[in-house]
Amino acid sequence: MATVEELKLRVRELENELIKCKQKQCAMEDAQSLELHRPKIEKMSAEVVDSNPYSRLMALKRMGIVDDYEKIRTFAVAVVGVGGVGSVTAEMLTRCGIGKLLLFDYDKVELANMNRLFFQPHQAGLSKVEAAEHTLRNINPDVSFETHNYNITTMENFTHFMDRIRHGGMEEGKPVDLVLSCVDNFEARMAINKACNELGQIWMESGVSENAVSGHIQLIIPGETACFACAPPLVVAANIDEKTLKREGVCAASLPTTMGVVAGILVQNVLKYLLKFGTVSYYLGYNAMQDFFPTMAMKANPQCNDRHCREQQEEYKKREAECPKVEVVQEEEEVVHEDNEWGIELVSEVTDAELQAATGDRPELPEGITVAYTIPAEVRVAQHITASQVLTSFYHRDLQMHLWFDK
């Protein structure tokens, strides 16, 4: 039988071997990651080449959707809760090339999360923020990350959380540009609400119902729009019999679809807000049972329970009184040339009648929906049409193809 001394020696040997193995593995991983990772990109380029990760985003400028897409790199966004909605939100922002992400969550990845997007089975047991940072850094090394693995609702963590919202911006010391609430419980939402009311921080709230078939997003501007404590939590009516809902023994259901949809509309609103395009929604609900998307805006409640909300409302009133809103009237200038001695005018090449004949009937459609193109009645008959006629009409390429095949 081995003596204690012998066993101790054996333990030391094995320990050394383990250290060697670990070192070898680390070296291999480093080498691999150097191969896999692209280098950081200093300046976003609009060049259309396969190797440019930003070409499709920068194309938004050419399409006239966004004025200055590069500006996205100057923003810092805090994502609180890196679960079904938060992780997908963080991934979307990472792929869009956001400047900085601050991730907050105290949970670990579990196999029970695998019905949702983003996390993978081999990450089970890791903290969500750590696993997320690793994946996201791989996707886009240009984004800077800051992760915090704690519960924001307890006293000391809350103080630290507030401090990071106030000072964790793109430039250390400046506040973040936006806080996104992707948490799954009332307590954490109220904590974010409290922090943002105290700091006057603009934030967006998101949520998916416990039965997984409805969700919402909401923009909260302290003092201006209703805060989370101004009214009881809003729910999107699911229009299902409540009694059939309360299944014994289950606390919450979840679907990757609903969570993906909510993350999508959340990040869409974030992009519109940060890059100033389209209309930013104050509240957008999603009812998956009926495919219904209610929207609305809600003013802050003067009797709100949160003292800081009431103070922010006073501040807002003062600001409003100081600078009354100027009605922006956009006037289109008529082009008048100084002299036009020959009386030249621009005339359309086709007459209204020709245009009408060439476009055909528009089907009756609800507001907001239109057809990409119409098919003129005579073309639809298409027996006598010549190729040259088809080519001169301003139709969509697909339609032309269609006509060729018909012949």
Binding site: F186, A229, G249
Partner: protein, 169 residues
């Protein structure tokens, strides 16, 4: 929803007056005093009714609470450790009571053994801010949860009485 006996017990718990959370340095000690008064009153009342079922104590600043609760089922006593933090949003939101040793044993629980109070308790609490306190949390939150869950867990054999030394607890 709470049963008739619980309702009666609650009607005898003093309501709290001070609307202050742990971040409110000046008013929190007053709120804490009211919490303790209500808790003591509730425990005394339970004892008098021969229905003593929990103990709680806090750290000096009253932000972290620990204790035990016990449940009698078919004349046998089952005991559990309980714990919770006072959230920064207290009393607007109720603390999340955890029974860590039951974590993973029932679906009506969130991670870390926090009991699921959303349906039966959260709306009730919200309607009674700031009058409800920790004694109400015990009577209307933890109490009904134990009454539903523990017999079920026992019948499934998931909860068993622990033998300590030569005696059962």
């Amino acid at each position: 929803m709470a049963d008739e006996a619980t309702r009666k017990a609650v009607s005898q718990i003093p309501l709290l007056k001070t609307n202050a959370g742990p971040r409110d340095r000046t008013l929190w000690p007053q709120r804490l005093k009211e919490e303790y008064q209500a808790l003591i009153h509730f425990v005394e009342q339970n004892k008098a009714a021969d229905n003593d079922w929990f103990r709680l104590e806090s750290n000096p600043d009253g932000t972290r609470w620990t204790g035990t609760c016990w449940f009698i089922h078919e004349l046998l006593r089952y005991e559990f450790q309980i714990e919770f933090d006072i959230p920064v949003t207290y009393p607007d939101t109720a603390p999340e009571v955890a029974v860590p040793e039951l974590d993973g044993k029932t679906a009506k629980m969130y991670r870390g053994g926090k009991i699921c109070l959303t349906d039966h308790f959260a709306p009730l609490w919200a309607r009674n801010v700031p009058r409800f306190g920790l004694a109400h949390l015990m009577a209307l939150g933890l109490g009904p949860w134990l009454a539903v869950e523990i017999p079920d867990l026992i019948s499934k054999g998931i909860v068993q009485r622990e033998k300590r030394g030569n005696t059962y607890l």
